[in-house]
């Protein structure tokens, strides 16, 4: 067992699923016939999360099941639910992708590589974070390839399913100095992904854990001097500490700056998909609409409850919209919307799809899963999530996850879920 901890996250449940796979979707079979089960109202009510407070509500009348019955010439069951979809321009086996692991040492090299291999095997897209290149290098000449950005990309590509999934390389304002995208786009090693239309670049406008701030890492003071010309180095831990805080800037955006940056990405990298990552900001809908209008293949929104990253306490507790409120504000939208924030099991995923997301990102859950089982942890976790998603979707009388909609959720607060869009 590693030292990786995630106290604000259902870590033990994720680890259990990473070990047991689909069995985790059900109670312990040894208890079958001996214990009584039922919902725990206290658990649902205790959560202040608007998505947790929603319930999925199956109907009696299920005309789409009739359609499926006609199609199959037998009664449909949950395993008949189709999960394949398009995620930000990539064909994907599931409405899932692996999020970037944030600016933290937690996303250590071996876990990053394990997640890459398993995401490739699953046929779902994977985002490589902005921190990987500056911390671990690119991996072409002098650096150790396995540790690097290229190592992550290669690990994914070597295990990828034919024509499925894709690699998304993130870049933030300071990364532009290192020209991460230009380097990847012009690299002969990446050509197979480009030629199969499985490379995307993600413009990082912000993130869930600390909206309004840039990326942060804690560094040894000695290592920090090397970066002082590019990042803010702040000795917040006091003169007695050997460690300092390294901050990126959040980057300055207006609607015109965002629009033109996206157009320039499309101009400069015409064979790559364009993703745009937004923070849970109060103008998230306006920003998302600018991004889609400028030609982004996907907008990803990180709820304030998301993020693996190291963030100031005040931000973790008090800053940013919840993912549920982001989805409510975005409402109707013209193109692909991807969301992340505390995703690890099927019900929350199904609710987000019903609220308008096209797919969801696994961040901390993916990291904990590969930390639990470096060979199969993420595959096992996703197997369990997929089974839940099939059961829930079929219960709602639908046989493709893309058909989930607002009619499938209900708020126990009596309030109608009313998107603004």
């Amino acid at each position: 067992m590693s030292t990786l901890r995630a106290e604000a996250f259902p870590e033990s449940a994720v680890r259990a699923r990473a070990r047991s796979g689909a069995a985790g979707a059900l109670p312990d079979p040894d208890e079958y016939g001996r214990a009584l089960f039922g919902a725990d109202p206290a658990r649902c009510a205790a959560s202040g999360d608007p998505i947790d407070r929603l319930r999925l509500v199956p109907p009696v009348f299920v005309p789409r099941r009739l359609d499926k019955l006609v199609d199959l010439a037998r009664e449909p069951v949950y395993r008949d639910v189709e999960l394949d979809t398009v995620v930000g321009g990539f064909r994907s086996t599931l409405p899932l992708y692996v999020s970037a692991f944030g600016s933290t040492d937690a996303a250590s090299v071996s876990l990053g590589l394990a997640a890459s291999r398993q995401a490739g095997r699953l046929g779902i897209p994977m985002v490589v974070g902005e921190n990987v290149m500056p911390v671990n290098g690119y991996g072409r000449i002098e650096e150790h390839t396995g540790r690097s950005l290229l190592g992550r990309i290669t690990a994914y590509a070597d295990h990828a399913l034919d024509g499925l999934g894709g690699v998304v390389v993130q870049q933030s304002t300071e990364d532009a100095d290192a020209e991460v995208w230009n380097l990847v786009y012009s690299d002969p090693n990446v050509q197979p992904l480009l030629e199969s239309s499985r490379l995307a670049f993600e413009l990082k406008v912000g993130q869930g854990a600390k909206p309004g701030l840039g990326g942060m890492t804690v560094l040894d003071a000695a290592a920090a001097t090397r970066l002082a010309d590019r990042f803010t180095i702040d000795p917040v831990f006091g003169g007695g500490s050997t460690r300092v805080l390294r901050s990126s800037s959040p980057g300055t955006f207006t609607d015109e700056i965002l629009r033109q940056q996206i157009r320039l990405m499309r101009n400069n990298f015409p064979r790559a998909r364009v993703w745009v990552k937004l923070p849970p900001a109060r103008d998230v809908r306006e920003a998302a609409l600018v991004a889609w209008e400028a030609g982004a293949d996907a907008v990803t929104v990180d709820g304030a409850e998301g993020g693996t990253g190291w963030a100031p306490v005040a931000f973790l507790q008090h800053v940013g919209l919840s993912l549920g409120e982001c989805l409510r504000r975005i409402g109707e939208h013209p193109s692909c919307l991807l969301v992340s924030g505390r995703m690890w099991e099927g019900a929350r995923v199904a609710k987000c799809l019903a609220l308008g997301a096209n797919a969801v990102g696994l961040g901390r859950a993916a990291l904990i899963a590969v930390d639990t089982d470096v060979e199969d942890g993420l595959v096992n976790l996703v197997e369990c999530l997929s089974l839940e998603l099939q059961m829930l979707t079929s219960a709602l009388g639908k046989y493709h996850v893309g058909l989930l909609g607002l009619e499938d959720v209900w708020s126990d607060a009596g309030a109608v879920w009313s998107p603004t869009g």
Binding site: T173, Y185, S186, P188, L194, L203, Q260, M265, N267, R271
Partner: protein, 336 residues
Amino acid sequence: MTQLLAIRGAERPPPADPREHLSSPVTRSVLTIQHRMLTAARDFLCGQGFIELLPPIIGPVTDPGARGAKQVDVDYYGHRYKLMTSAILYKQASLTAFDKIFCIAPNVRLEPIETATTSRHLVEFHQIDVEVAGASRAGVMQLAEGLVGHVVGEVVARLRGELDSLGRDAGTFGPLLAEPFGRRTHAQAVTDLHAMGHAQNPDAEIDWAGEAMLSRQASKPFFITDYPKGSRGFYDRENRERPGFLQNFDLIAPEGYGELCSGSEREHDYATIIARMRETGENPAKYGWYLRMVRDGIPGSAGFGIGVERLTRYVAGLDSVWQASAYPKIPGVASP
């Protein structure tokens, strides 16, 4: 004659080794023509009062406007320096010394691998880089037209034998030497391409294939003007009356040879440059020396850069641009 036939082959492979390339009579003819072109360009510009400057090779920043290409990093006493992708920032700065400057500038761009088959991309190439203080776009377009006309005219007048040996018909240049160059806006070019069934993105640079299609239809060089803002670097000036469109131009060769030259009126207002840097995804912090100069004031200007090897390819009628370089470096190919 065998050599000539070889030149006309499709998708020309790069030379096997420098000796084979350099000792080829074709290469000798091409480089002779190129030498005459450079001499003619210098004569033309010096005759108009331009000062030739020797351009810098490395610097803390360089032109970020190269489509998809990676800059080459240099470890400069522990600082990350760049090989010049173009001299644009230094051209603007140089106008604090002289009003009319030019340089024959070497540039290096690690181009995307897909450009290895366009027949017109080299990783290492040269530009005739011109900048004029106080000039308008119309003024430097006229200058570029005059310069190209003079260079081609000199080759036709003095090196007819070399053109003949390469199978290049000097009569091809009749329209170029006798008539004004054509002009169309980027929006018109997009409309023309759509009419030809080509899916050109209206917000972006004309793509390689589209540019070749337009070029093949022409019998003399033509300008494309008013590129959309999201397609070029921060230094191309935005049209104040038509926001979203730039006061810039490309010069396209006829017969399918494609782009020869890019130019523009330049932005020189400090706050506008900062905003444009952000719109092009740049981090202003790394442009310290340039922004200090801009903040203290640099002249408004217009200018252009003509690709020497591309112009040579067009004049000599070559299949591939690498034939116009003594030591060609094709994207993705490790070569001397």
